[in-house]
Symmetry: C2
Subunit: 242 residues, 2 copies
């Protein structure tokens, strides 16, 4: 860190490298009807801009680098600006997680669409699940390994709920039975919990590198996806399952 940012905290540099007299100064002089594209200066769409900035920071610097101040820096606003839109860090993370869940759900839905055979259909969801997590480990971390999430926020609650509903639905399809909205048999619950636990557990272990040990001992060049496929299709041990 040669920078250390002791100086300006708002390390932005949009097209207009203004930098004038007193630090405060006017960051404006660029309205001109406010071209609706991006980053006008009393912002207008800061909330969205912050979420996108957060996504960029997350991809670039990982979970540890995702701080309120870093996001504000990335968006080119003062470090306290996010507070007004998200309340606190929990708020920002929660909204970001909601974005992630929506991407996540979309990815799984698209993958299911593309399936043709029943076997493909059965594997499409889990594969898309893991693939999303591998492609966006930071986002997956936000969604599933952050204790700082507020599920009472409607956007997050809704997006996460949709994810769960999709899962329950998929399991119902596979069992060829209707999954009720408000009551489950033990076996139904077990089937859902098993599917979710297996895929979620696999994903977190994989992202944490804890499966390297297994992958390294498998036949040359076996990928994580192949292992997942085997997990889901290989016959369960004779005596007792699992």
């Amino acid at each position: 860190m040669a920078k250390t940012d002791t100086k300006s905290e708002t390390a932005r540099s949009p097209r207009a490298p203004r930098k004038t007299t007193s630090t405060a100064a006017s960051r404006t002089s660029r309205r001109a009807g406010s071209a609706k594209t991006e980053t006008p200066y009393h912002h207008g769409a800061l909330r969205e801009a912050l979420l996108q900035a957060a996504e960029r920071v997350l991809e670039r610097d990982g979970l540890a680098g995702l701080t309120l101040r870093a996001v504000a820096r990335e968006a080119g606003v003062s470090h306290a600006a996010p507070t007004h839109h998200f309340g606190d860090l929990t708020g920002l993370l929660s909204e970001l997680a909601a974005v992630g869940f929506r991407q996540f759900n979309a990815a799984m839905a698209a993958s299911c669409e593309a399936a043709t055979t029943p076997l493909e259909a059965a594997l499409a969801r889990p594969k898309a699940y893991v693939a999303y997590a591998q492609a966006h480990p930071g986002m997956y971390g936000i969604m599933f390994r952050t204790e700082r999430l507020d599920y009472s926020r409607p956007s997050l609650h809704e997006a996460a709920e949709a994810s769960f509903a999709g899962l329950a639905n998929a399991v119902g399809m596979m069992r060829q039975e209707q999954i009720s909205r408000d009551a489950l048999t033990l076996n139904q619950g077990a089937a859902i919990a098993r599917a979710w636990s297996m895929v979620h557990g696999f994903t977190t272990l994989l992202l944490d590198g804890r499966l390297e040990d297994i992958l390294g001992r498998l036949p040359e060049g076996t990928t994580a996806e192949r292992l997942l496929e085997a997990m889901l299709t290989a016959p369960v041990t004779p005596k007792h399952p699992a």
Copy 2:
């Protein structure tokens, strides 16, 4: 003066250690408070004491409260003392995780010992796994959801390895075949990954409260343990496995 650290930071502050010359000293070289065993002051066993303090802080204040300074406070030493023994936060967390893995392994081993029937034997490990996590959620978090772990530390590496070996061994037992040290068939790897993923995934989802939704829809009074049991024993869906 007195601008940094308004609090005494050492929580105790025997008496005013002002004096310019010889200064602080006077740490009383006696025990403070408890110390029936020993908490002498050029400590002698600070490393152990810090680990125990960390465990206490973790149980009391949770993961978020577990900071280097909080641990030092709990142990009654200066905030920089841990550095000398653990290098940095990663060091402390790693050593603490090693302690956790040892407890964890011991709990599972004990549970397996107690099993009599084959079914019990098959369920003992997973149940103990989840039970440990429920009893020590903070520790489980340190072990499995902290990116700040250094597996190159021998103690951690060894303890985690033992955990994995126990798992592989249990799976081998259940499949009634020998699991080689350095090569696995795809089906063997899949069986291990499935068992681990399922139990680990179930545990993290449970601790995050993400299974409440399912548990609430199950027959009145169904516990998490019962659900786990059903997951592990209920017949897999007819068409294609979960």
